[in-house]
Amino acid sequence: MFMLGPLGFTAPWLLLGLLALPVLWLVLRAVPPAPIRRRFPGVALLLGLTDDESQTDKTPWWLLLLRMLAIAAVIVGFAGPILNPQQERAGTGPLLVLIDGTWADARDWPRRIDRVEALLAEAARNARPVALVQTTDLPEGGVPFQAADAWQARLPGLTPAAWEPDAEDLAAWAAALSGRFDTFWLSDGAARDTRLPLLEALERHGTVTVFESPRPIYALRPARFEDGQIALTALRARADEVAEVTVTATGLDPNGVERDLARATAEFELGEDAAEVALVLPPELRNRITRFAVSGVRSAAAVTLTDDSLKRREVALIAGREDREGLELLSPLHFLHQALEPSADLIGGDLVDILLANPDVIVLADVAKVTETEEAALLEWLDQGGLLVRFAGPRLAASDVSRDAEDALMPVRLRAGGRTVGGAMSWGAPKALRPFPDNSPFFGLPVPADVTVSAQVMAQPGPELAERSIAALADGTPLVTRKRVGQGQIVLFHVTANAEWSSLPLSGLFVQMLERLAISTRPAQPSAEDLAGTVWVPEDLLNAFGEIGGAGNMPGVPGEALASGLPSHRLPPGLYAGEDRRIALNIFSADKRLAAASWPARIVIEGLSVARETFLKGAFLAAALVLLALDIIASLFLSGRLRGPRAGVAAVLMLVLVLPTDAPAQTADDTLALAATSEVVLAHVLSGDARVDRIAAAGLRGLSEKLAQRTSVEPAAPIAVSLETDELSFFPFLYWPITANQPRPSAAAYARLNRYLRTGGMILMDTRDADVAQFGGGSPEARKLQELARPLDIPPLEPIPEDHVLTRTFYLLQDFPGRFAARDVWVEAAPPDAELAEGMPFRNLNDGVTPVVIGGNDWAAAWAVDDRGLQMFPVGRGYAGERQREIAYRFGINLVMHVLTGNYKSDQVHVPALLDRLGQ
């Protein structure tokens, strides 16, 4: 293939045609453009005139250049130009394509597959046998060399693994290699101890070429709980520049939907490969987090699952007596505080209040009696899985709780008095603890010899005592008893929570016992001894891409393996559940480091990018066509035929050729919003009837003037709104004249109207027919009103009652006339339980503004004034008519006052009570 920089040609001989271009130049130059014949009487005047420029009989140079370029483009186009033609990689013999296939590969897995595909295609061209091996999934018995096509078919099925290659397996596999082959190693870019030995082993068999992506690798260490905040450490492989990553915390929200609960930004300083980020979250939110992830990074290492170690239980501590000021060490809660503080959230307070907070654990230290309501609430809480821990004490011992019959909140019956051993007045030494039985949650805890009990309350022997006892003294008397209630349990420590009766609270055993009871939470990583002999069932597993999936029917794993904290194909990373807790196995443990792979200088390292072949033939031919089109226009221009409609067409063509399309969307016009919100504005709905709309506007103008004259409301000029297009929420009040042939608003308009009514807007609907029809009668407007109002969210209505707040918001009114004086004006019905207020002539109706006022009195016509402020329509006759107009204005003012001030006047019902309270 003939190469010219990055360009290759499939038919380079055609390029010789370019040599003909100078000849073409001469030929084209000599031929002038064809003349036009014109009939023109003025030719008589032209006779004898000569062309002064002799050059014009030849084609101008730029047109020539255009044509030459077009022809050159055609020649080059047919010569088959290819950008970045695939370079052949020479080589013979078997080829091993080795993919790391770890979590670090997942970030750009498709590109790796592309690269492998290109390598395979190349090998297929060279007829080399190929073996494709993932270090995380080593084939049995050496390297399976096959034809490249066979591997290509398997390529889409390859996925990276979420763990790293096992060092021993890898070493064994490398040692078993035989024969000569070249190796292409697609490295994931992370440093690993197994790399160099493997590289040396491979180099013994042939040359090794390494492919590596320069894209950064990020990882997250498990979240820690430190000083009341969640601390996270983000790692990166290369510390060569300042970078910023966002860490998101994901979990279920209260609705059970998984979402990002919090996010924080970790900033990598120059030269630092780790960045700390701290999240301060309320316990409610913190306990919901299931995982943290570096957002935008598609890799299992960038995800860290949380387990119980991050969860902090809410523990409520309640003591029976806390009246001893200053004696901190004697406080029944002191040792509990000390033991629980680091690992749990402690709350205190009244029992009823605490139950509202729904804590995980309630500790009652020497509390004998609870009230009946408290008991009921506690039992309900226990039923739902609460853990009630009680400690004995002098008060419990002195009371008769659970003496005769077993108390609902006690695990066992108690004998009166309790006992004291090893004291000054008693025989015997203080008792030590017996090793815990294997049915006890404390089983396995070492019993320190120095823990002694000198006093305790005694359990009444009974058939179920042995079963309920989970810890006992050396002489067999129960020390801790437990009873299950519903899903919860009650645990009684037969000693005090302070050091008064025993030295238990002073020992480490006390803390461990609390842990075992799941009162406090455990340290982050359990040790192998802790987990020895246990079996853990995987709940959720993490794949290499950082996605969480179910575990399917994967068998349980032994606790020892889990404690090692090293994910492998037998132990994929994920969340493992044991008997009473869950452990997250993450790829990065708290001390694991991340670094970039370093290769010896002799190794050739190539990028992953595959240069795609681009065939340019089409582009060149298209360019030639464009040039020829330009040539047409230019020729027309030169020969003087580019005028009239042709010029227009040519201009359009040029524009299409030259200009890209650009049509920025116009921003929405919000002048209406500005006009409606900068001042109080009355608005009317456009009915579609120009005359009605004009009257409505004039009516609102008249009402606005009157409002401005008489009240502190000074509305701006009224606005006409279209239900279909305008936003209604700016307007406190809408006047809606109903016409018989009004179009029905669309569904979207109804949705807007309903939202408007629900959020406190008011519509005055006016059928304007009170002169001819009673309300609800059969006038066309009334029927239209019924049709229009049917989809509206209108509450039950009633004729305006005498004590409605509209009768007294500004003026005292009993009639609501407009141009007509019908009594039928309907408003939202008062609640049926409204009662006559004491000492007041009206009912106790202090709630809400009626969303609609419906009538037919044609108020707008009564209010309407023209531009000069003169009344537009006569109302009634003579003085009585003017009085009616005045009352109409007063109704309008009352209405607007009602809209703007709400039930303020209705609240005057309470004036006597207020005065009374003020002592007047």
Binding site: P32, P33, A34, P35, I36, R37, R38, R39, F40, P41, G42, V43, A44, L45, L46, L47, L49, D51, D52, E53, T56, D57, L638, S639, G640, R641, R643
Partner: protein
């Protein structure tokens, strides 16, 4: 256009808005023919003009005794001099006149004929005698003459490229109107005007041009041909010729204006792209202005 009736009706339409032309004769010579309207001076006619005191030499029979009886003097009753004017029209019917620069535009010949006939209508309504120069259609009066004129204008036959003014058959001291594009040779025009001036004929000369001839909106390599193809001129850059063409056209117009001024005629240039009304008004005024 080609049917006489259509031509006449269009001409009548055009002529309708204007008042009848009352041409004023400047000189009266042997060709005086009694017309309908007076010449505002004493002379032979039917209408009373004025009484004047009798002077010695007046015939006794010319004394108006009824008027003289009311005073001590003798008065002679004079009558208004009534005479009709002869107007001769020449409309160029050469092929160059058949040019129309745009398909929607009327040709120069068409416009010239309509103008000529409209003026004829006006003149004949005013009682004048109208005819064509040359010997084909001598000036006559009456509606019939309009029909004859219309027929003569409608006649299209073989014609040379450029027209030559017909100055024969002009009555002395009559009026003449030449309508042409005057694109051809100027010598016959000069000769015709000189001959007219010799005979005391006054008149108007209207140059009818197409807007394309005025603007020369051509560009590129072009071969210009006259209407019959007898003349041709080839250019490679027509745009370059525009300036010089317009210069020549202006020279020709100036020459025509000069010639007409010397001969006591009127000259104007009319474009077919404009309204014919203006041109008719100018013609009307031009023929009236001669005093």
């Amino acid at each position: 256009m080609s049917t006489p009736a259509a031509l006449r009706s269009r001409a009548e339409d055009l002529a309708a808005p204007l008042p009848p032309l009352l041409a004023e004769a400047e000189h009266l010579a042997a060709t005086v023919l009694l017309g309908e309207h007076g010449r505002r001076r004493a002379g032979m006619g039917d209408e009373f003009w004025q009484y004047r005191p009798a002077t010695p030499g007046d015939e006794a029979r010319s004394i108006d005794w009824r008027r003289s009886g009311r005073s001590d003097q003798h008065f002679v009753r004079e009558k208004e001099w009534q005479a009709a004017q002869s107007v001769l029209i020449w409309v160029d019917d050469a092929q160059s006149m058949r040019f129309a620069g745009d398909a929607g535009r009327v040709s120069k010949a068409g416009r010239a004929r309509v103008l000529a006939l409209a003026l004829s209508v006006l003149l004949i309504r005013g009682g004048e005698r109208v005819g064509l120069s040359g010997f084909d259609l001598p000036p006559r009066r009456g509606e019939l003459q309009l029909l004859r004129l219309a027929e003569a204008f409608s006649h299209e036959g073989a014609a040379p490229d450029y027209g030559v003014p017909e100055a024969r058959g002009m009555l002395p001291h009559s009026r003449a109107l030449f309508l042409s594009d005057f694109m051809g040779d100027m010598a016959p025009v000069e000769a015709a005007l000189a001959k007219a001036a010799d005979r005391g004929v006054k008149g108007a000369l209207l140059q009818v041009l197409d807007p394309q001839e005025e603007a020369f909106p051509f560009d590129g390599r072009t071969i210009f041909e006259s209407m019959s193809g007898s003349l041709r001129h080839e250019t490679l850059k027509a745009g370059d010729l525009r300036g010089r063409y317009l210069e020549r056209l202006a020279q020709r117009k100036a020459r025509l204006a000069d010639l007409t001024r010397i001969a006591g005629w009127h000259y104007d240039c009319h474009h077919t792209g404009e309204s014919a009304q203006g041109a008719l008004l100018w013609l009307f005024r031009a023929l009236e202005r001669v005093r």
